[in-house]
């Protein structure tokens, strides 16, 4: 016997959570874009999506975030730190890949210097994940040692029932337990069978790939030029990636006051590493694509023991020129030894 949540009780559930002081965010479509928005009703949710176009990373590491407000005076500058609110938030209907993305980035943002902007948001957010029972051509979690029912990064795991009436509910963390305690009467015990997870074919041999990347000789391989030839150097892959975390710090304001902000940035951009002298260590698109792949599957892995990729496949799904991690890693694993 496990606990289940019926679709029909979802609205009650939302009401109970709101009553406990949570706001609930779930995939929904607004203005031709699917993303996590705050929802009031179950009917607002778009839970049948394979994946929303935008990731939940956005809600922990916003695309632009005020850090410090400053006021310029004659001989002094007044500053005021802008502290992100510690909102009690529930992310409902997160896909396992997106949930994993948060867990993948945690060590980076906590590496010696703790980035409070990330962790204040992380601390009070509950990730309620729904295991995937369907996938599309781009899904590749299984290729990066995750799965359509992976629990990584989740506080509560919902597994769809075979009969389609609801989900099996499993708390994975204290935060998850605490959340379920707010809805004891809404959950029920049942022995309804869970639906099998989506079948996501393995697209490349990650061990082979990481071994090749770790080989110093691979760095200078002609492979990088060929694979990235059509890359146009935009940042849609990085900005839609659940794990990409690079940013810029910029001051914006007028003569009298302004705000120092933390903005998304991308290793795809030529300006990313450009020195003021004009020297640019990564001045071609192929070197930038190499950095992206190396960082995700070699450097990051070396540092934090995890690939900086959760297999969501957005990079390929949204690429204007049909590139992406899958193709590159597939090609690497097919390279002759």
């Amino acid at each position: 016997m496990t606990r289940i949540l019926l679709h029909t009780r979802l609205d009650d559930c939302l009401a109970a959570w709101r009553a406990s002081g949570y706001s609930v965010l779930a995939p929904s479509k607004s203005h031709e874009l699917t993303r996590f928005n705050e929802v009031q009703h179950a009917s607002d949710m778009a839970l049948d999506l394979v994946l929303p176009e935008r990731t939940i990373k956005d809600h922990f590491f916003p695309q632009t975030e005020p850090l410090i407000r400053y006021r310029i005076k004659k001989h002094e500058i007044d500053t005021e730190e802008m502290v992100p609110p510690e909102l009690k938030r529930i992310f409902f209907g997160v896909r396992p890949c997106d949930a994993s993305g948060l867990a993948i980035d945690d060590p980076l943002f906590g590496w010696d210097y703790k980035d409070e902007y990330w962790f204040r948001r992380r601390g009070n957010s509950v990730i309620v994940t729904i295991a995937c029972t369907s996938a599309d051509d781009f899904c590749m979690c299984t290729s990066v040692q995750l799965s359509p029912d992976s629990t990584k990064g989740s506080d509560v795991m919902l597994t769809p029932l075979k009969d389609g009436r609801g989900w099996q509910v499993l708390a994975l963390t204290d935060r998850g337990n605490a959340l379920l305690e707010t809805i004891p009467s809404i959950l029920q015990e049942s022995d309804a069978e869970p639906a099998p997870p989506a079948s996501v074919p393995v697209k490349f041999d990650i061990d082979k790939v990481t071994a090749w990347l770790a080989d110093p000789a691979s760095f200078e391989s002609h492979f990088w030029k060929e694979i990235s030839q059509r890359c146009i150097g935009c940042a849609s892959c990085t900005f839609l990636c659940p794990t990409c975390h690079c940013f810029d710090i910029q001051d914006e304001g007028d003569t009298y006051s302004g705000i120092r902000r933390k903005n998304w940035d991308s290793c795809s951009f030529a300006m990313f590493t450009m020195h003021t002298s004009g020297h640019n260590p990564r001045n071609t698109q192929s070197t930038r694509w190499r950095q992206r792949i190396m960082h995700k599957f070699n450097y990051y892995r070396g540092k934090f023991d995890v690939n900086s990729c959760s297999g969501c496949g957005r990079c390929t799904r949204q690429c204007p020129v049909d590139m992406g991690i899958t193709e590159t890693l597939q090609s690497i694993s097919n390279l002759p030894r």
């Binding site: 695309q63 632009t64 935009c234 903005n263 998304w264």
Partner: protein, 276 residues
């Protein structure tokens, strides 16, 4: 012989005869309906070329990267009429030498790709002329009309919602053959004209500036619109600019390789109904 076969043969011949050093075309993509740009350098690779109704991307932007044409050798590229117009603009703006561009022209109509005769940009002048007389896309116009009918307040709100989605990934810019600047205006930080942050104000500024820079240069290939990962209807704003250039200045982007930029020229009798 189908068009794909015909153009594969032609590409092979161009490469094996040494007439071109490279053929930029379309290949199979990661799903059955996707096509991706491919770069063919020898005749025996031409079997990778695909040409069908899914080949909609404007490949002319790949002609621009520095160094590609600097050796004086020619490059062949698969182009629809919009792409041919892009080549004309790139030539007019001294970014490519049109003599080095062999055009494998085709058009898509009724779900079919069909060949267009001609190999040099100038060969397509009558085609482009007839496109000009046909006018801009009526579908786009209808869509734009929906917005024009709104009150300014509603229209602002519409774009406010659209632009608030923008994440400044610059896919629109990077995919655009016209965005060849060595340094984009957003990367100018002395002074920082465009707020680089992707808040709605910065996004408004960015999208307005880009549309302005495309005025009289956009060929409506739709590349930016398709590339936008957050589905901002960039086609509409660019269409509005094309319409203004055509209506007010009789300027149809990419008419010829010696067309002058619409915003660097003038006529003394340009319309000025709005000036007090």
């Amino acid at each position: 012989m189908g068009i794909q076969e015909q153009y594969r043969n032609e590409a092979a011949e161009l490469l094996s005869s040494g007439a071109v050093k490279l053929v930029i075309g379309y290949g199979e993509g990661s799903t059955s309906d996707r096509r991706r740009p491919v770069f063919i350098r020898s005749a025996d690779e031409t079997a990778r070329l695909v040409l069908d109704a899914n080949c909609i991307a404007n490949l002319s932007g790949y002609l621009v990267p520095e160094g590609l044409l600097s050796d004086g050798k020619s490059v062949a590229v698969f182009l629809k009429p919009d792409g041919i117009r892009s080549v004309n603009i790139l030539a007019a703006e001294a970014q490519v030498n049109p003599d080095q561009v062999v055009i494998l022209g085709f058009d898509i109509d009724g779900g079919q790709a069909s060949p267009l005769p001609g190999r040099k940009a100038t060969d397509f002048a009558p085609l482009i002329e007839s496109q000009k007389s046909t006018g801009l896309s009526t579908e786009l116009q209808q869509e734009a009309d929906q917005l024009e009918l709104m009150s300014a307040t509603d229209r602002f709100e519409y774009w406010n919602q659209q632009f608030s989605k923008c994440i400044k990934c610059y896919a629109c810019r990077q995919v655009c053959p016209m965005c060849y600047c060595r340094r984009c205006i957003v990367d100018v930080n002395q002074p920082q004209w465009v707020n680089t942050s992707s808040h709605t104000l910065g996004n408004f500024e960015w999208n307005i500036v880009r549309a302005f820079h495309l005025a009289g240069r956009c060929v409506a290939c739709g590349g930016c619109d398709r590339a936008c990962p957050v589905n901002i209807p960039l086609r509409l704003i660019n269409h509005r600019m094309s319409k203004e250039a055509l209506d007010a200045f009789d300027h149809f982007a990419g008419e010829s390789a010696d067309q002058k930029p619409v915003l660097a020229t003038f006529r003394q009798d340009d319309p000025e109904t709005f000036i007090l």
